[in-house]
Homo-oligomer: 244 residues x 2
DNA sequence: CGTCCGTTTGAGGATCATCAATGTCCGTGG
DNA sequence: CCACGGACATTGATGATCCTCAAACGGACG
Protein backbone atom coordinates (compact mmCIF):
# COMPACT_ATOMS: atom_id res chain seq x y z
CA UNK A 1 0.00 0.00 0.00
CA UNK A 2 1.41 3.33 -0.97
CA UNK A 3 1.13 6.24 1.28
CA UNK A 4 2.24 9.70 0.43
CA UNK A 5 0.63 11.37 3.37
CA UNK A 6 2.17 11.72 6.77
CA UNK A 7 0.43 9.87 9.56
CA UNK A 8 -0.12 11.35 12.95
CA UNK A 9 -1.10 9.47 16.05
CA UNK A 10 -3.80 11.07 18.10
CA UNK A 11 -5.78 9.29 20.73
CA UNK A 12 -7.21 12.29 22.55
CA UNK A 13 -10.04 12.45 20.05
CA UNK A 14 -13.81 12.17 20.17
CA UNK A 15 -13.42 8.94 18.23
CA UNK A 16 -14.94 7.51 15.10
CA UNK A 17 -18.52 8.19 14.18
CA UNK A 18 -20.01 5.81 11.71
CA UNK A 19 -22.98 6.85 9.70
CA UNK A 20 -25.18 3.93 10.52
CA UNK A 21 -28.86 3.61 10.18
CA UNK A 22 -31.06 1.92 12.61
CA UNK A 23 -32.07 -1.61 11.95
CA UNK A 24 -34.96 -1.30 14.34
CA UNK A 25 -36.14 1.00 17.11
CA UNK A 26 -36.71 0.57 20.81
CA UNK A 27 -40.25 0.42 22.06
CA UNK A 28 -40.09 4.04 23.18
CA UNK A 29 -39.12 5.15 19.70
CA UNK A 30 -35.52 5.99 20.53
CA UNK A 31 -32.91 4.77 18.17
CA UNK A 32 -30.66 1.83 18.81
CA UNK A 33 -28.70 2.79 15.77
CA UNK A 34 -25.80 4.83 17.02
CA UNK A 35 -22.57 3.98 18.68
CA UNK A 36 -22.40 4.25 22.42
CA UNK A 37 -19.70 6.29 24.00
CA UNK A 38 -18.01 3.09 25.07
CA UNK A 39 -17.99 1.69 21.56
CA UNK A 40 -16.66 4.93 20.18
CA UNK A 41 -13.83 4.86 22.65
CA UNK A 42 -13.12 1.24 21.92
CA UNK A 43 -12.82 1.93 18.23
CA UNK A 44 -10.71 4.98 18.91
CA UNK A 45 -8.26 2.88 20.88
CA UNK A 46 -7.71 0.76 17.78
CA UNK A 47 -7.59 3.61 15.34
CA UNK A 48 -4.73 5.67 14.06
CA UNK A 49 -5.51 9.07 12.65
CA UNK A 50 -3.94 9.57 9.24
CA UNK A 51 -3.95 12.54 6.88
CA UNK A 52 -3.69 12.50 3.10
CA UNK A 53 -3.33 15.37 0.64
CA UNK A 54 -5.71 15.62 -2.36
CA UNK A 55 -5.46 13.14 -5.23
CA UNK A 56 -3.62 10.54 -3.19
CA UNK A 57 -4.19 6.80 -3.46
CA UNK A 58 -5.18 5.32 -0.10
CA UNK A 59 -5.10 1.75 -1.39
CA UNK A 60 -5.34 -0.06 -4.69
CA UNK A 61 -7.67 -2.75 -5.87
CA UNK A 62 -6.19 -6.24 -5.48
CA UNK A 63 -3.98 -4.83 -2.79
CA UNK A 64 -3.68 -6.99 0.30
CA UNK A 65 -6.17 -6.14 3.01
CA UNK A 66 -4.52 -4.52 5.97
CA UNK A 67 -6.76 -1.81 7.35
CA UNK A 68 -10.30 -0.58 7.42
CA UNK A 69 -10.86 3.18 7.22
CA UNK A 70 -13.46 5.61 8.41
CA UNK A 71 -13.50 9.08 6.93
CA UNK A 72 -13.31 11.88 9.45
CA UNK A 73 -12.86 14.87 7.17
CA UNK A 74 -12.73 15.35 3.44
CA UNK A 75 -14.01 13.50 0.39
CA UNK A 76 -12.72 10.41 -1.40
CA UNK A 77 -13.73 8.27 -4.33
CA UNK A 78 -13.76 4.50 -4.70
CA UNK A 79 -13.33 3.28 -8.25
CA UNK A 80 -12.35 0.37 -10.42
CA UNK A 81 -10.05 0.32 -13.36
CA UNK A 82 -11.60 -1.36 -16.39
CA UNK A 83 -9.69 -3.46 -18.94
CA UNK A 84 -9.91 -0.60 -21.42
CA UNK A 85 -8.28 1.76 -18.97
CA UNK A 86 -11.50 3.60 -18.29
CA UNK A 87 -12.59 4.10 -14.74
CA UNK A 88 -15.91 3.70 -13.04
CA UNK A 89 -16.41 5.47 -9.75
CA UNK A 90 -18.46 3.21 -7.49
CA UNK A 91 -18.98 5.75 -4.75
CA UNK A 92 -17.90 9.01 -3.27
CA UNK A 93 -16.99 8.76 0.39
CA UNK A 94 -17.85 11.43 2.93
CA UNK A 95 -17.17 11.89 6.63
CA UNK A 96 -18.62 8.99 8.58
CA UNK A 97 -18.32 6.60 5.68
CA UNK A 98 -16.46 3.37 6.21
CA UNK A 99 -14.43 1.65 3.51
CA UNK A 100 -11.85 -1.02 3.02
CA UNK A 101 -13.96 -4.12 3.46
CA UNK A 102 -12.24 -6.65 1.28
CA UNK A 103 -13.05 -9.88 -0.50
CA UNK A 104 -10.75 -12.87 -0.19
CA UNK A 105 -8.25 -10.71 1.62
CA UNK A 106 -7.91 -8.20 -1.20
CA UNK A 107 -9.40 -4.78 -1.69
CA UNK A 108 -11.87 -4.66 -4.55
CA UNK A 109 -11.73 -0.95 -5.31
CA UNK A 110 -9.04 1.63 -5.48
CA UNK A 111 -9.66 4.52 -3.11
CA UNK A 112 -8.25 7.94 -3.83
CA UNK A 113 -8.66 11.21 -2.00
CA UNK A 114 -10.50 14.02 -3.74
CA UNK A 115 -9.77 16.68 -1.17
CA UNK A 116 -7.42 16.68 1.76
CA UNK A 117 -8.74 14.03 4.14
CA UNK A 118 -8.35 12.79 7.66
CA UNK A 119 -9.08 9.12 8.23
CA UNK A 120 -9.34 6.72 11.08
CA UNK A 121 -7.25 3.74 10.17
CA UNK A 122 -8.05 0.49 11.95
CA UNK A 123 -6.06 -2.73 11.46
CA UNK A 124 -8.48 -5.26 10.07
CA UNK A 125 -7.52 -8.08 12.42
CA UNK A 126 -7.99 -5.89 15.48
CA UNK A 127 -11.34 -4.71 14.15
CA UNK A 128 -12.47 -8.23 13.35
CA UNK A 129 -11.46 -9.26 16.84
CA UNK A 130 -13.40 -6.41 18.38
CA UNK A 131 -16.47 -7.14 16.28
CA UNK A 132 -16.46 -10.72 17.47
CA UNK A 133 -16.35 -9.55 21.04
CA UNK A 134 -18.98 -6.83 20.69
CA UNK A 135 -22.05 -8.06 18.84
CA UNK A 136 -23.82 -4.73 19.28
CA UNK A 137 -21.00 -2.93 17.57
CA UNK A 138 -20.95 -5.48 14.83
CA UNK A 139 -24.65 -4.98 14.44
CA UNK A 140 -24.02 -1.33 13.70
CA UNK A 141 -21.53 -2.33 11.04
CA UNK A 142 -24.09 -4.64 9.55
CA UNK A 143 -26.58 -1.77 9.38
CA UNK A 144 -23.98 0.46 7.85
CA UNK A 145 -23.10 -1.99 5.12
CA UNK A 146 -26.76 -2.59 4.42
CA UNK A 147 -27.19 1.11 3.94
CA UNK A 148 -24.30 1.20 1.50
CA UNK A 149 -25.93 -1.63 -0.37
CA UNK A 150 -28.97 0.62 -0.90
CA UNK A 151 -26.75 3.42 -2.07
CA UNK A 152 -25.26 1.10 -4.64
CA UNK A 153 -28.70 0.16 -5.86
CA UNK A 154 -29.68 3.80 -6.18
CA UNK A 155 -26.50 4.35 -8.12
CA UNK A 156 -27.51 1.61 -10.53
CA UNK A 157 -30.91 3.22 -10.96
CA UNK A 158 -29.27 6.55 -11.62
CA UNK A 159 -26.95 5.11 -14.25
CA UNK A 160 -29.81 3.35 -15.98
CA UNK A 161 -31.30 6.72 -16.90
CA UNK A 162 -30.83 7.74 -20.46
CA UNK A 163 -30.86 11.51 -20.07
CA UNK A 164 -27.66 13.11 -18.89
CA UNK A 165 -29.37 16.08 -17.25
CA UNK A 166 -31.61 13.77 -15.27
CA UNK A 167 -28.65 11.76 -14.04
CA UNK A 168 -26.89 14.88 -12.91
CA UNK A 169 -29.98 16.21 -11.18
CA UNK A 170 -30.41 12.91 -9.40
CA UNK A 171 -26.82 13.01 -8.24
CA UNK A 172 -27.23 16.55 -6.96
CA UNK A 173 -30.34 15.46 -5.15
CA UNK A 174 -28.44 12.63 -3.49
CA UNK A 175 -25.69 14.97 -2.40
CA UNK A 176 -28.23 17.39 -1.06
CA UNK A 177 -29.80 14.69 1.10
CA UNK A 178 -26.44 13.60 2.43
CA UNK A 179 -25.89 15.75 5.49
CA UNK A 180 -22.19 14.93 5.48
CA UNK A 181 -21.57 16.02 1.91
CA UNK A 182 -21.29 19.55 3.16
CA UNK A 183 -24.11 21.45 1.52
CA UNK A 184 -24.45 24.77 3.25
CA UNK A 185 -26.97 27.52 2.83
CA UNK A 186 -28.56 25.83 -0.13
CA UNK A 187 -25.23 25.47 -1.90
CA UNK A 188 -24.31 21.91 -2.81
CA UNK A 189 -20.57 21.35 -2.63
CA UNK A 190 -19.01 19.55 -5.60
CA UNK A 191 -15.38 19.00 -4.61
CA UNK A 192 -14.85 16.37 -7.30
CA UNK A 193 -13.76 17.15 -10.85
CA UNK A 194 -15.95 16.86 -13.92
CA UNK A 195 -14.03 13.76 -14.82
CA UNK A 196 -14.82 12.19 -11.45
CA UNK A 197 -18.43 13.11 -11.96
CA UNK A 198 -18.44 11.58 -15.43
CA UNK A 199 -16.95 8.36 -14.11
CA UNK A 200 -19.60 8.18 -11.41
CA UNK A 201 -22.51 9.04 -13.68
CA UNK A 202 -21.36 6.74 -16.46
CA UNK A 203 -21.16 9.59 -18.93
CA UNK A 204 -18.43 11.19 -20.96
CA UNK A 205 -16.76 14.26 -19.58
CA UNK A 206 -18.31 16.36 -22.29
CA UNK A 207 -21.80 15.10 -21.59
CA UNK A 208 -21.45 16.12 -17.95
CA UNK A 209 -20.41 19.55 -19.05
CA UNK A 210 -23.34 19.79 -21.41
CA UNK A 211 -25.67 18.60 -18.67
CA UNK A 212 -24.54 21.33 -16.30
CA UNK A 213 -24.99 23.85 -19.10
CA UNK A 214 -28.47 22.53 -19.77
CA UNK A 215 -29.56 22.76 -16.13
CA UNK A 216 -28.11 26.22 -15.97
CA UNK A 217 -29.65 27.40 -19.25
CA UNK A 218 -33.07 26.07 -18.26
CA UNK A 219 -32.87 28.00 -15.01
CA UNK A 220 -33.11 24.98 -12.75
CA UNK A 221 -29.69 25.00 -11.11
CA UNK A 222 -26.90 27.54 -11.03
CA UNK A 223 -23.25 26.58 -10.79
CA UNK A 224 -20.50 28.58 -9.23
CA UNK A 225 -16.84 28.04 -9.97
CA UNK A 226 -17.62 24.54 -11.13
CA UNK A 227 -17.52 23.22 -7.57
CA UNK A 228 -20.80 24.38 -6.09
CA UNK A 229 -24.39 24.19 -7.24
CA UNK A 230 -27.67 25.63 -6.07
CA UNK A 231 -31.19 24.62 -6.98
CA UNK A 232 -33.17 27.71 -7.96
CA UNK A 233 -36.29 26.11 -9.36
CA UNK A 234 -37.18 23.44 -6.84
CA UNK A 235 -40.37 22.30 -8.56
CA UNK A 236 -38.81 21.65 -11.92
CA UNK A 237 -35.74 20.17 -10.25
CA UNK A 238 -37.77 17.59 -8.36
CA UNK A 239 -39.78 16.87 -11.47
CA UNK A 240 -36.60 16.16 -13.38
CA UNK A 241 -35.20 13.99 -10.58
CA UNK A 242 -38.36 11.89 -10.52
CA UNK A 243 -38.81 11.74 -14.26
CA UNK A 244 -37.75 8.19 -14.76
CA UNK B 1 -47.69 -8.81 3.28
CA UNK B 2 -49.53 -10.86 0.72
CA UNK B 3 -48.90 -14.47 0.40
CA UNK B 4 -50.46 -16.65 -2.23
CA UNK B 5 -48.35 -19.66 -1.57
CA UNK B 6 -49.06 -22.31 1.01
CA UNK B 7 -46.56 -22.55 3.83
CA UNK B 8 -45.33 -25.80 5.21
CA UNK B 9 -43.48 -26.30 8.43
CA UNK B 10 -40.50 -28.56 8.23
CA UNK B 11 -37.77 -28.73 10.78
CA UNK B 12 -36.22 -32.02 9.80
CA UNK B 13 -34.12 -30.27 7.22
CA UNK B 14 -30.42 -29.78 6.58
CA UNK B 15 -30.98 -26.13 7.37
CA UNK B 16 -30.18 -22.86 5.66
CA UNK B 17 -27.00 -22.43 3.71
CA UNK B 18 -25.93 -18.89 3.14
CA UNK B 19 -23.64 -18.09 0.32
CA UNK B 20 -21.09 -16.18 2.28
CA UNK B 21 -17.56 -15.38 1.44
CA UNK B 22 -14.71 -15.44 3.81
CA UNK B 23 -13.61 -12.25 5.39
CA UNK B 24 -10.24 -13.73 6.23
CA UNK B 25 -8.61 -17.11 6.51
CA UNK B 26 -7.15 -19.11 9.33
CA UNK B 27 -3.40 -19.48 9.52
CA UNK B 28 -3.59 -22.95 8.04
CA UNK B 29 -5.44 -21.65 5.01
CA UNK B 30 -8.78 -23.18 5.90
CA UNK B 31 -11.79 -20.99 5.58
CA UNK B 32 -13.59 -19.38 8.46
CA UNK B 33 -16.28 -18.36 6.07
CA UNK B 34 -18.95 -21.00 6.28
CA UNK B 35 -21.62 -21.76 8.76
CA UNK B 36 -20.92 -24.41 11.31
CA UNK B 37 -23.33 -27.25 11.76
CA UNK B 38 -24.44 -25.71 15.03
CA UNK B 39 -25.17 -22.38 13.40
CA UNK B 40 -27.06 -24.03 10.60
CA UNK B 41 -29.19 -25.87 13.08
CA UNK B 42 -29.76 -22.72 15.08
CA UNK B 43 -31.00 -20.88 12.05
CA UNK B 44 -33.12 -23.83 11.05
CA UNK B 45 -34.84 -23.77 14.40
CA UNK B 46 -35.96 -20.22 13.70
CA UNK B 47 -36.90 -20.79 10.10
CA UNK B 48 -40.14 -21.79 8.51
CA UNK B 49 -40.03 -23.36 5.09
CA UNK B 50 -42.42 -21.66 2.67
CA UNK B 51 -43.24 -22.34 -0.96
CA UNK B 52 -44.39 -19.87 -3.61
CA UNK B 53 -45.59 -20.46 -7.17
CA UNK B 54 -44.05 -18.49 -10.05
CA UNK B 55 -44.73 -14.77 -10.43
CA UNK B 56 -45.79 -14.31 -6.82
CA UNK B 57 -44.97 -11.27 -4.72
CA UNK B 58 -43.09 -12.25 -1.55
CA UNK B 59 -43.16 -8.73 -0.13
CA UNK B 60 -43.56 -5.20 -1.39
CA UNK B 61 -41.35 -2.18 -1.02
CA UNK B 62 -42.37 0.04 1.90
CA UNK B 63 -44.01 -2.99 3.44
CA UNK B 64 -43.39 -3.39 7.13
CA UNK B 65 -40.39 -5.56 7.94
CA UNK B 66 -41.41 -8.87 9.39
CA UNK B 67 -39.15 -11.58 8.08
CA UNK B 68 -35.82 -12.24 6.48
CA UNK B 69 -35.65 -14.87 3.78
CA UNK B 70 -33.05 -17.23 2.41
CA UNK B 71 -33.68 -18.86 -0.92
CA UNK B 72 -33.52 -22.64 -0.89
CA UNK B 73 -34.75 -23.44 -4.38
CA UNK B 74 -35.82 -21.38 -7.35
CA UNK B 75 -35.16 -17.90 -8.66
CA UNK B 76 -36.57 -14.52 -7.60
CA UNK B 77 -36.10 -10.90 -8.55
CA UNK B 78 -35.82 -7.82 -6.36
CA UNK B 79 -36.98 -4.62 -8.01
CA UNK B 80 -38.18 -1.11 -7.41
CA UNK B 81 -41.10 0.65 -8.94
CA UNK B 82 -40.17 4.04 -10.38
CA UNK B 83 -42.41 7.10 -10.39
CA UNK B 84 -43.04 6.63 -14.10
CA UNK B 85 -44.27 3.10 -13.50
CA UNK B 86 -41.14 1.56 -14.97
CA UNK B 87 -39.30 -1.07 -13.02
CA UNK B 88 -35.66 -1.57 -12.33
CA UNK B 89 -34.55 -5.01 -11.24
CA UNK B 90 -31.82 -4.59 -8.63
CA UNK B 91 -30.89 -8.24 -8.45
CA UNK B 92 -31.88 -11.77 -9.26
CA UNK B 93 -31.86 -14.06 -6.25
CA UNK B 94 -30.63 -17.63 -6.38
CA UNK B 95 -30.45 -20.46 -3.85
CA UNK B 96 -28.32 -19.40 -0.90
CA UNK B 97 -29.10 -15.73 -1.34
CA UNK B 98 -30.49 -13.84 1.59
CA UNK B 99 -32.96 -10.98 1.25
CA UNK B 100 -35.35 -8.89 3.26
CA UNK B 101 -32.92 -6.65 5.10
CA UNK B 102 -34.89 -3.48 5.60
CA UNK B 103 -34.25 0.17 6.24
CA UNK B 104 -36.14 2.01 8.94
CA UNK B 105 -38.29 -1.03 9.43
CA UNK B 106 -39.52 -1.11 5.84
CA UNK B 107 -38.50 -3.22 2.89
CA UNK B 108 -36.80 -1.22 0.18
CA UNK B 109 -37.44 -3.52 -2.75
CA UNK B 110 -40.31 -5.60 -3.94
CA UNK B 111 -39.40 -9.25 -4.27
CA UNK B 112 -41.24 -11.50 -6.68
CA UNK B 113 -40.70 -15.11 -7.61
CA UNK B 114 -39.59 -15.92 -11.12
CA UNK B 115 -39.91 -19.68 -10.84
CA UNK B 116 -41.48 -21.80 -8.17
CA UNK B 117 -39.40 -21.22 -5.06
CA UNK B 118 -38.81 -22.63 -1.61
CA UNK B 119 -37.66 -20.17 1.02
CA UNK B 120 -36.49 -20.20 4.58
CA UNK B 121 -38.47 -17.55 6.38
CA UNK B 122 -37.00 -16.20 9.60
CA UNK B 123 -38.76 -13.66 11.82
CA UNK B 124 -36.54 -10.60 11.91
CA UNK B 125 -36.68 -10.10 15.67
CA UNK B 126 -35.67 -13.67 16.32
CA UNK B 127 -32.86 -13.37 13.84
CA UNK B 128 -31.65 -10.08 15.28
CA UNK B 129 -31.71 -11.68 18.70
CA UNK B 130 -29.70 -14.64 17.50
CA UNK B 131 -27.17 -12.44 15.74
CA UNK B 132 -26.59 -10.50 18.95
CA UNK B 133 -25.93 -13.73 20.76
CA UNK B 134 -23.72 -15.31 18.13
CA UNK B 135 -21.08 -12.89 16.87
CA UNK B 136 -19.56 -15.52 14.58
CA UNK B 137 -22.85 -16.04 12.85
CA UNK B 138 -23.34 -12.32 12.55
CA UNK B 139 -19.89 -12.10 11.06
CA UNK B 140 -21.01 -14.43 8.31
CA UNK B 141 -23.95 -12.18 7.64
CA UNK B 142 -21.62 -9.23 7.44
CA UNK B 143 -19.52 -11.05 4.86
CA UNK B 144 -22.59 -12.00 2.93
CA UNK B 145 -23.88 -8.45 2.75
CA UNK B 146 -20.45 -7.21 1.78
CA UNK B 147 -20.48 -9.65 -1.08
CA UNK B 148 -23.86 -8.41 -2.21
CA UNK B 149 -22.49 -4.91 -2.12
CA UNK B 150 -19.86 -5.98 -4.66
CA UNK B 151 -22.54 -7.52 -6.81
CA UNK B 152 -24.38 -4.24 -6.80
CA UNK B 153 -21.27 -2.42 -7.88
CA UNK B 154 -20.71 -4.87 -10.70
CA UNK B 155 -24.29 -4.31 -11.71
CA UNK B 156 -23.65 -0.58 -11.91
CA UNK B 157 -20.60 -1.20 -14.06
CA UNK B 158 -22.65 -3.42 -16.33
CA UNK B 159 -25.37 -0.84 -16.73
CA UNK B 160 -22.87 1.87 -17.49
CA UNK B 161 -21.94 0.08 -20.71
CA UNK B 162 -23.28 1.62 -23.85
CA UNK B 163 -23.52 -1.47 -26.02
CA UNK B 164 -26.48 -3.71 -25.48
CA UNK B 165 -24.73 -6.88 -26.65
CA UNK B 166 -21.88 -6.23 -24.24
CA UNK B 167 -24.28 -5.81 -21.34
CA UNK B 168 -26.00 -9.04 -22.16
CA UNK B 169 -22.72 -10.88 -22.53
CA UNK B 170 -21.58 -9.54 -19.18
CA UNK B 171 -24.79 -10.70 -17.56
CA UNK B 172 -24.42 -14.16 -19.05
CA UNK B 173 -20.87 -14.25 -17.78
CA UNK B 174 -22.07 -13.38 -14.28
CA UNK B 175 -24.69 -16.11 -14.39
CA UNK B 176 -22.11 -18.56 -15.62
CA UNK B 177 -19.84 -17.82 -12.66
CA UNK B 178 -22.68 -18.17 -10.20
CA UNK B 179 -22.67 -21.83 -9.27
CA UNK B 180 -26.18 -21.52 -7.85
CA UNK B 181 -27.72 -20.10 -10.99
CA UNK B 182 -28.02 -23.59 -12.34
CA UNK B 183 -25.87 -23.68 -15.45
CA UNK B 184 -25.42 -27.29 -16.47
CA UNK B 185 -23.31 -28.84 -19.17
CA UNK B 186 -22.33 -25.48 -20.57
CA UNK B 187 -25.93 -24.35 -20.82
CA UNK B 188 -26.72 -21.18 -18.92
CA UNK B 189 -30.24 -21.21 -17.54
CA UNK B 190 -32.30 -18.05 -18.11
CA UNK B 191 -35.52 -18.62 -16.18
CA UNK B 192 -36.46 -14.94 -16.27
CA UNK B 193 -38.42 -13.31 -19.08
CA UNK B 194 -36.99 -10.89 -21.60
CA UNK B 195 -38.78 -8.13 -19.75
CA UNK B 196 -37.08 -9.09 -16.49
CA UNK B 197 -33.78 -9.09 -18.32
CA UNK B 198 -34.45 -5.69 -19.81
CA UNK B 199 -35.30 -4.27 -16.41
CA UNK B 200 -32.09 -5.66 -14.97
CA UNK B 201 -29.90 -4.55 -17.86
CA UNK B 202 -31.44 -1.11 -18.07
CA UNK B 203 -32.48 -1.65 -21.66
CA UNK B 204 -35.74 -1.78 -23.52
CA UNK B 205 -37.29 -5.14 -24.14
CA UNK B 206 -36.62 -4.77 -27.84
CA UNK B 207 -32.97 -3.99 -27.34
CA UNK B 208 -32.54 -7.17 -25.33
CA UNK B 209 -34.10 -9.10 -28.13
CA UNK B 210 -31.83 -7.45 -30.66
CA UNK B 211 -28.84 -8.15 -28.43
CA UNK B 212 -29.62 -11.85 -28.28
CA UNK B 213 -30.05 -11.87 -32.04
CA UNK B 214 -26.72 -10.12 -32.47
CA UNK B 215 -24.85 -12.60 -30.26
CA UNK B 216 -26.52 -15.43 -32.09
CA UNK B 217 -25.90 -14.01 -35.56
CA UNK B 218 -22.24 -13.34 -34.77
CA UNK B 219 -21.85 -16.96 -33.70
CA UNK B 220 -20.82 -16.16 -30.13
CA UNK B 221 -23.76 -17.57 -28.17
CA UNK B 222 -26.66 -19.76 -29.11
CA UNK B 223 -30.05 -19.52 -27.45
CA UNK B 224 -32.53 -22.29 -27.01
CA UNK B 225 -36.17 -21.75 -26.32
CA UNK B 226 -35.38 -18.29 -25.02
CA UNK B 227 -34.52 -19.65 -21.58
CA UNK B 228 -31.12 -21.19 -22.06
CA UNK B 229 -27.90 -19.96 -23.60
CA UNK B 230 -24.57 -21.51 -24.48
CA UNK B 231 -21.30 -19.84 -25.31
CA UNK B 232 -19.90 -21.34 -28.49
CA UNK B 233 -17.05 -18.93 -29.18
CA UNK B 234 -15.37 -18.51 -25.83
CA UNK B 235 -12.58 -16.25 -27.06
CA UNK B 236 -14.82 -13.68 -28.67
CA UNK B 237 -17.26 -13.96 -25.80
CA UNK B 238 -14.62 -13.06 -23.22
CA UNK B 239 -13.35 -10.32 -25.46
CA UNK B 240 -16.82 -8.82 -25.61
CA UNK B 241 -17.32 -9.16 -21.87
CA UNK B 242 -14.07 -7.34 -21.20
CA UNK B 243 -14.51 -4.73 -23.90
CA UNK B 244 -15.41 -1.83 -21.70
C1' DC C 1 2.95 36.82 -19.73
C1' DG C 2 3.00 32.06 -21.25
C1' DT C 3 2.05 27.37 -20.18
C1' DC C 4 -0.67 23.66 -18.47
C1' DC C 5 -4.69 21.55 -16.95
C1' DG C 6 -9.41 21.34 -16.65
C1' DT C 7 -13.61 22.80 -18.77
C1' DT C 8 -16.73 24.26 -22.39
C1' DT C 9 -18.59 24.23 -27.02
C1' DG C 10 -19.23 22.43 -31.80
C1' DA C 11 -20.04 18.92 -35.70
C1' DG C 12 -20.65 14.25 -37.17
C1' DG C 13 -21.49 9.42 -36.44
C1' DA C 14 -23.17 5.51 -33.68
C1' DT C 15 -26.48 3.41 -30.60
C1' DC C 16 -30.59 2.85 -28.29
C1' DA C 17 -35.81 3.98 -27.33
C1' DT C 18 -40.09 4.24 -29.28
C1' DC C 19 -43.92 3.02 -32.12
C1' DA C 20 -45.80 -0.42 -34.86
C1' DA C 21 -46.33 -4.78 -37.02
C1' DT C 22 -45.28 -9.52 -37.41
C1' DG C 23 -44.04 -13.96 -35.59
C1' DT C 24 -43.90 -17.89 -32.11
C1' DC C 25 -45.31 -20.75 -28.44
C1' DC C 26 -48.77 -22.90 -25.67
C1' DG C 27 -53.01 -23.71 -23.41
C1' DT C 28 -58.03 -23.64 -24.15
C1' DG C 29 -62.15 -24.98 -26.20
C1' DG C 30 -64.82 -26.48 -29.97
C1' DC D 1 -57.47 -32.97 -33.78
C1' DC D 2 -57.46 -28.47 -35.07
C1' DA D 3 -58.59 -23.55 -34.65
C1' DC D 4 -58.37 -19.73 -31.75
C1' DG D 5 -56.55 -16.45 -28.36
C1' DG D 6 -53.28 -14.34 -25.49
C1' DA D 7 -48.75 -13.71 -23.70
C1' DC D 8 -44.29 -13.27 -25.06
C1' DA D 9 -40.66 -12.46 -28.39
C1' DT D 10 -38.74 -10.77 -32.74
C1' DT D 11 -38.07 -7.51 -36.52
C1' DG D 12 -38.37 -2.96 -38.91
C1' DA D 13 -38.27 2.26 -39.39
C1' DT D 14 -37.69 6.64 -37.34
C1' DG D 15 -36.11 10.01 -34.06
C1' DA D 16 -33.61 11.38 -29.95
C1' DT D 17 -29.52 11.11 -27.21
C1' DC D 18 -24.98 10.42 -26.22
C1' DC D 19 -19.95 9.43 -27.63
C1' DT D 20 -16.05 10.69 -30.24
C1' DC D 21 -12.96 13.81 -32.28
C1' DA D 22 -11.56 18.50 -32.40
C1' DA D 23 -10.96 23.18 -31.26
C1' DA D 24 -11.46 27.13 -28.34
C1' DC D 25 -11.69 28.95 -23.71
C1' DG D 26 -10.45 29.85 -18.81
C1' DG D 27 -8.14 30.04 -14.54
C1' DA D 28 -3.89 28.82 -11.68
C1' DC D 29 0.84 29.16 -11.31
C1' DG D 30 5.48 29.95 -12.14
Amino acid sequence: MERHGEAELIHADAGPVIRGIEFERNADGTSKGLLTETQRRGLASLATLVTFPPRTIVYREDGELSSIFIAKEGVLKAFRELPSGKRRVAAFLFPGDMFGLAENGRYVNTVQTVTKVVLYQIPSEALAEMLRRDPELQFQFLCKITHELRQGQRHAILIARKDAAGRLAMFLSMLEQNEHAGSQGGWIQLPMSRTDLAEYLGLSLESVSRATSALSRRGIVIFQGGHAARVIDRARFEKLVNAL
